[in-house]
């Protein structure tokens, strides 16, 4: 009998509180700030479309609406994911974010015909050249968007991984020991 009373009273309590919470969530909802602009400001802005959205602005809108995770941007890598998550106030597991392999475009001088198509298209003006002159890529300005590769008629533009130098070499993260908790 006592047990029954306990079960009934606790169940009722649970139901009532759950209902109250549900009502509160619906009617006391705080309208979130329009943070789309802030989000967009953080994004690379190269409109590369690798996230599946047509550009950085639509991606930022999807982020703000909660339709996309903060880890959506491959070129941004873990650094961007962390910043986005911070701005959105959500927790993310950075272990799942693969930092992208950095790529730069390079012109093969043998096959470049100086058609100027690539440098007209380059979003960061990273390709220099003139009509009928061999073009060159400024590696520092190249963002690896691969747009130039698509328009090159002779396939002389190729993506190459950024070479690791003594300056850019970093210590790798130590492997976690078998048995050590990762939480």
């Amino acid at each position: 009998m006592y047990i029954l009373t306990a079960i009934v009273s606790l169940t009722t309590l649970g139901l009532v509180l759950g209902l109250l919470l549900g009502i509160a969530a619906r009617y006391l909802k705080v309208e979130s700030n329009p943070i789309v602009d802030e989000l967009e400001a953080l994004m690379p802005g190269s409109q590369c479309g690798q996230c599946g959205y047509p550009g950085c602005r639509p991606a930022a809108e999807a982020l703000a609406a909660g339709e996309a995770p903060p880890t959506l941007c491959p070129p941004g890598g873990s650094s961007l994911a962390e910043q986005l998550a911070k701005l959105l106030g959500v927790e993310i597991d950075l272990n799942d974010v693969q930092d992208p392999e950095l790529l730069v475009a390079r012109v093969s001088e043998d096959t470049c015909i100086g058609c100027t198509r690539c440098f007209k298209l380059c979003p960061t003006d990273a390709i220099v050249g003139a009509p009928k002159q061999i073009h060159a890529v400024i590696a520092d300005a190249c963002i690896g968007c691969k747009k130039c590769v698509a328009v090159c008629p002779t396939e002389c533009l190729q993506m190459h991984p950024v070479e690791v130098t003594l300056r850019s070499w970093r210590w790798p993260k130590p492997a976690v020991a078998e048995g050590a908790a990762t939480c």
């Binding site: 210590w171 078998e178 048995g179 050590a180 939480c183």
Partner: protein
């Protein structure tokens, strides 16, 4: 030639100690007290001790399997054995076997593995087990056998010891004659009957109590051997002096003050130091790395907190002994202590701001 191409950073040399090295030294330090206790309480105590240790190791292996990890290396680190050992030290020596199994299970599963295993737990597993058992099984956990050294006349023989451990103390005809209260429990009971000091302790020998010739769990009897083991651990560099010293000092100071003010109602520091689990807690329980603060200053606070709580519970609480509760409460405070008490970083003040640059005029002129 060179083993791996993976870059390895300094230090390239090390002390080459290991987790098992530390665990084994702790076990070695606690062994004399354990051996003495086992001798005092004979075969039933040994039975319970073995059952508890075995089940601790088995529970550990079971949990590791469940987590999909290879059990062997983690078992070999000796931490489960030590936890089981400490649990066994807190049990009444003649408690039935299932108390030992339950204690080991609570310590290993609820005290350690649910948090993620070694190094992750918030509370000391052995104390968690003891307190859970004490609350759940008050009778079994407070039935203290008289000292009956192995092979002596009053000691239960081998058959009797089996029935004590495996069928309970009630199976022995002379059970009542063989049990009594611990020193602290006795004092508490007498107080409740309006008997006061020093009459209560008229027949009490602090020396025998200190030596361990008294009722209690293995970890409550020989304050002397526990203390010696603890000092050896400090000398070995396994534990630091901060927690034991501040804990014992706090208890001594508080009990001295109260005893001097009112020697009828407050027991003397010597009785405090020689009774109960104080020594065991000071050297083996409160010093548990995982659940105590990281910094020396934090450890001093932690030890003092434990000492204060032990004294308060012993003096004004309903339980005669408060070491378990005190340690658990301070365990809960450890993250807080670690958050607020941090070493001062070189070149910074206590608040983490860079030191101000101050060159005296005199120095500038030099």
């Amino acid at each position: 030639m060179i083993a791996s191409r993976k870059p390895s950073s300094g230090a390239h040399i090390g002390t080459n100690t290991s987790v098992q090295h530390i665990m084994w030294r702790v076990i070695l330090a606690i062994s004399p007290a354990t051996a003495f206790g086992l001798f005092c309480f004979g075969w039933p105590a040994l039975n319970l001790f073995i059952v508890t240790l075995l089940s601790a190791v088995l529970f550990e292996a079971f949990c590791l399997r469940l987590a999909g990890r290879i059990a062997k290396p983690a078992i070999m680190d000796g931490s489960a054995l030590l936890t089981g050992w400490l649990v066994a030290m807190t049990l009444p020596p003649w408690a039935p076997w299932w108390i030992g199994v339950a204690g080991a299970g609570i310590a290993i599963i609820l005290g350690k593995q649910v948090y993620g295993g070694l190094g992750q737990n918030l509370f000391n597993p052995a104390m968690l087990a003891r307190i859970a058992l004490l609350i759940s099984f008050p009778i079994e956990m407070t039935t203290w056998p008289n000292v009956a050294p192995a092979f002596s006349a009053q000691a239960p023989d081998f058959i009797e010891s089996w029935s004590i451990t495996f069928s309970g103390l009630g199976s022995i005809a002379s059970a009542d004659a063989m049990t009594g209260a611990t020193t602290l429990g006795y004092i508490k009971t007498e107080f409740s009957q309006q008997h006061w000091l020093p009459d209560i302790l008229a027949n009490h020998s602090i020396f025998l109590n200190f030596l361990g010739w008294t009722r209690g769990s293995l970890g409550e009897t020989s304050a002397l051997l526990l203390g010696l083991g603890g000092v050896w651990l400090i000398r070995q560099g396994v534990i630091k002096w901060h927690i034991p010293v501040s804990l014992l000092l706090t208890v001594t100071l508080l009990s001295s003050v109260f005893h001097l003010l009112d020697s009828q109602h407050y027991i003397s520091p010597l009785v405090h130091l020689s009774s109960g689990a104080l020594m065991c807690a000071a050297f083996f329980i409160a010093t548990d790395y995982v659940t105590s603060p990281n910094t020396p200053a934090g450890q001093l606070v932690f030890g003092a907190g434990c000492g204060l709580l032990i004294f308060v519970i012993r003096t004004w609480g309903t339980y005669p002994e408060g070491a378990g509760f005190a340690v658990l409460l301070m365990n809960a405070a450890t993250p807080l202590i670690d958050h607020y008490i941090r070493p001062r970083i070189y070149g910074r003040n206590r608040n983490g701001k860079p030191l101000e640059q101050k060159i005296t005029v005199q120095e500038r002129e030099q």
